[in-house]
Symmetry: C3
Subunit: 432 residues, 3 copies
């Protein structure tokens, strides 16, 4: 389960390249981002869904594209400039070119009194509106007088873009990985997710595999709803485990947020991996949900999917502000997340249900698998093998035995392989 | 779920009026009490069951009526007088008019060495006996000599009296409320129960209702056995939740004692209400049972019924003594209990199982139910609605969602009503 | 459930007599031990299984018999002498008579650096080998030079010996007790097990009984595998509870090691007994297994059997060394274990499932089972009876009620007997 030594650096480098692009639910920024990811994942299929299309209870909105925007005071001083940070403009702002007094302007300004040096990230996707986001310290300094607000944007029928990559495996059952690509210049939420998902897909392609893998890069909420509206029956029939990959680039913590049902194969796998990765990983409840798991785990959808994060959306101060940048997200942070997800896939691939082929314990000694001299405190006792055999009753899968014994599933795997090679374990269909 | 502002005072006033009456398993005192309650609950039906009637393993005893009783010493000093406190006479004492020495008298005297100023409450329902109860301090002061014991009572075939009120609702399923009326001059155990049950029945009659309600006012043990012997099949078929209401008038604590099975709808409801009423409410075990739940939850009866108390029978020092009076029981204590039980009924009435009518999350914003501008820490996020929708999968009832989310069911109810009004939730039959 | 007052002393006396015998997987020492146990348990049936017989994945090894063995240095000083302690020779050593240098000798020497005064217990059952075990302090003092190693032993086709005693009861269902007889001069592991099992069998024979009892005295591992290979179908059909009795002679602690499934009748019984015997008994996991439970609880075997120990194998410093002697094992230690196991059998015999014969509570007073005068804090309240009746619903067995109520099952038993005598409880088939 090796990952390339420079994967962290490579992910960070691509993130730096993509950081300045203004992504949104729709538009050229998102499309350009998907194309650049395709350079790393040949075969990635980009889909376009027309504005106005009904997707369950929702409708695909008009496409938004922005070229420039500036807020200037009467003296010609620039208060906010899209060219400096695309966060300065409320996402999905309609075009405007107006002079206003400060009082008239205020309902169009957004700032964070508690984080006076941060530009907040604000959107108004589904109601026509325009606005500027700025540091609270700057807003406080504004003097009465005239201001000119110019947003050169278009909001017109177009398409919502998303991408998917299916990597076929020996079996039809699928592992599903979803991440989102609708955020402008922010790093943890949300360039980190697409970076880690891209490198995870590279790893999958390079490894022998049992499962089929499906990676999707979508705009949040409307994108997952759109994707589900087109693939629900297939996903419900095929997906055995899924991960929503979001906010995976910082170094602070690992986080687990369960599926709504709480104990699907995905939940069991990620809990197992994080338990052996960081004993203090943060355990969230489904009540803390906030990303696409809201759709994937909705009643009637109910995919076996949980959320993998480091500092989870909403739970770190830089969240949804200009402070969420590529100093907060690091190569080491990204690499740690990639390693954890690779371990999840290794566990899933390894997770078979076995039955012992003999009654009572097999005689391991005659097969060279057990010390022939018996003496107390023998350090060569093959505890992984004997534990595997003890629970190989056709009702515990490898993950269950790993949890019972406290042994990482990836360590149990090599014991299982040895026992299979000696025909002491046989695979049986899972009972759950 | 408003209750009248003066309900506490009104309950306390009626309790003061009824306090002096000498109630027992049978007799005119109990009958008079039931008639006075009927003044508040027109339609209350009073039943009379003849002495000698078999009720399961028991037999209705003779009716006991007492007019006066005195214990006087040789000097004519009154040691105990029924006219001063009806607790002075052992309940169901047979008539007596005898002179005795102090030694002969002792087996007929009852007192509490640990509570020397309290008159204990003692009964001998099922074996012929007579006796006087007195303060231990008084008993200790008694001098050798002759005493005269006179009890002017009758113990003769008659009837056991109980009352019931059925308030029909839209559905045949019933909520069952039981309380008892067999205690002489004591306030928490047990005038408080009938008072709160009476005002709860008034509240039920005044409110729109889904369920049918059945209130019974009975003597303890033999009364509930009698009632069950006549109505068991009906109650088992219809009752969805029941409460034994006892010791509900003091201000010290709220108490919960579960049904024998421990997780019926009644248990879930009362636990939920008390959890949001008083985080430190006392959680008893079914091993602590002692009142009519012993019959209602007996094997083969198994009604879904739990016990609501404040300071529970047996668990407060004033219990079954003359100290259990109307200073210990207060208008505020009674009103608090009424409020908690009203909340239980509100929860039960509101407790529906819903299913979301759309796949994925509905777009609340287009219905004016969600903020249109998205920004971190938005206080207007309609978390009650989104949580309801997230768990509206046809397998969680409202109480279950309230427990999962930590939101009082009565608060979730208004969110449910809004979502139903927008046709986003539909009611389904409960799965459990 | 009386046990004889001198049982502890009698067990210790027999242990002292058997201690010097050199037992092993096979051979005359084990056979002699079984014959001596038969003196105490007339009817004990000793079986002989020929070397070379296949038992599941294993083969019965050659029989090992040893007459003498000495390791002598060049000066004629005796380094290790089988006549002094049979632990000095590696179990199953092949015959040898050789001169070697110290360097050549080293791979045939075994000692414990951490316990320099203890002779370790070492075996090589399944690979031809010879060796001497000695105190590490002695080993360290050995000087370069020639040594003469003589082991006068035979390793040749013969038999594996084991013994069983079936004590028929009123029912065909069986209680199974297994212990092992393959250890040379060590006391806790493992003369204590056969001693306690022998006296337990005496107790069973002397008591009226419902169940059939099966006691087996076998060599560890290969013995239990052999026994299972011959009796598996019978045992799976008949055994309702079993105990592996091992390391039961010291006074340090009581230990419980569950079956693989963890909640069989045997587990429930032993947990209950130990909970009322020693609140601090040691609770092991099945991961700590190491004796014949490895076979009895293996997948496909799955007997409802758990392990009863005091200081469990592997968990005390004297384990598998010459320090495990008859000072560490005491008459009091053995007697305590016998008492605990007798209590287990009493619980199992008593463990019926009852149903109340009346609806609601029966009137205990009219049967003289309840105080007729009711007064607070009455110490004569028959709480064992009322609790039994409250849970006698046909789904709780006596052990379950004992656990719920915190009352030892043997105390509940007399209440059950009284209620059965009054026809208030009836026995029903267990539901689980």
């Amino acid at each position: 389960m090796e990952i390339e030594a420079d994967a962290g650096e490579a992910m960070h480098a691509l993130a730096r390249e993509l950081f300045p692009i203004c992504r949104s639910l729709t538009g050229e920024g998102t499309r350009a981002t998907l194309r650049r990811i395709r350079d790393h994942l040949p075969g990635l299929e980009i889909s376009e869904v027309p504005s106005g299309t009904s997707v369950f209870d929702w409708t695909i909105p008009d496409e938004w594209n922005i070229r420039s925007a500036r807020l200037v005071d009467a003296a010609g001083r620039v208060v906010a400039d899209f060219g400096v940070s695309n966060l300065h403009v409320v996402g999905y702002s309609e075009p405007v070119d107006r002079e206003l007094t400060l009082d008239e302007l205020q309902p169009h300004l957004y700032s964070l009194p508690d984080q006076p040096d941060a530009i907040p990230y604000v959107t108004s996707y589904y109601r026509r509106h325009w606005g500027f986001c700025l540091q609270h310290r700057v807003r406080e300094s504004l003097k009465p007088g005239k201001y000119r607000a110019v947003i050169d944007a278009t909001l017109a029928p177009g398409h919502l873009s998303y991408a998917e990559l299916v990597v076929p495996g020996a079996e039809k059952e699928e592992i599903f990985v979803s991440t989102y690509v609708c955020h402008p210049s922010m790093a943890n939420n949300e360039l980190s997710g697409p970076m880690v998902a891209t490198w995870l897909a590279k790893w999958v392609r390079a490894a022998p595999r049992r499962y089929t893998y499906r990676f999707v890069f979508i705009p949040e909420t409307i994108g997952s709803i759109t994707y589900l509206s087109r693939h629900l029956a297939h996903l419900r029939a095929r997906v055995v485990a899924g991960f929503n990959v979001s906010c995976v680039g910082d170094e602070r913590a690992y986080s687990f947020l369960p599926s709504r049902r709480g104990n699907t194969l995905a939940d069991r796998t990620l809990r197992h991996v994080l338990g052996h990765t960081d004993a203090n990983y943060v355990r969230y409840s489904y009540l803390d949900r906030g990303s696409d798991e809201r759709q994937y785990c909705a009643p009637g959808v109910d995919l076996p999917l949980c959320v993998f994060s480091r500092s989870k959306y909403g739970a770190y101060p830089e969240y949804h502000t200009s402070l969420d940048d590529l100093r907060f997200v690091t190569a080491a942070g990204l690499a740690g997340s990639l390693t954890a997800l690779v371990r999840c896939l290794v566990c899933l691939e390894a997770n078979r249900t076995y039955r012992s082929t003999v009654l009572c314990e097999p005689q391991l000694g005659k097969r060279g698998l057990y010390p022939t001299v018996s003496m107390k405190n023998n350090p060569h006792h093959p505890v992984h093998m004997t534990n595997l055999l003890a629970y190989a009753d056709g009702s515990h899968d490898l993950l269950a035995i790993a949890e019972i014994t406290g042994i990482p599933a990836w360590d149990l795997l090599s014991a299982a392989q040895k026992l299979e090679a000696h025909a002491l374990l046989t695979r049986v269909p899972a009972t759950a």
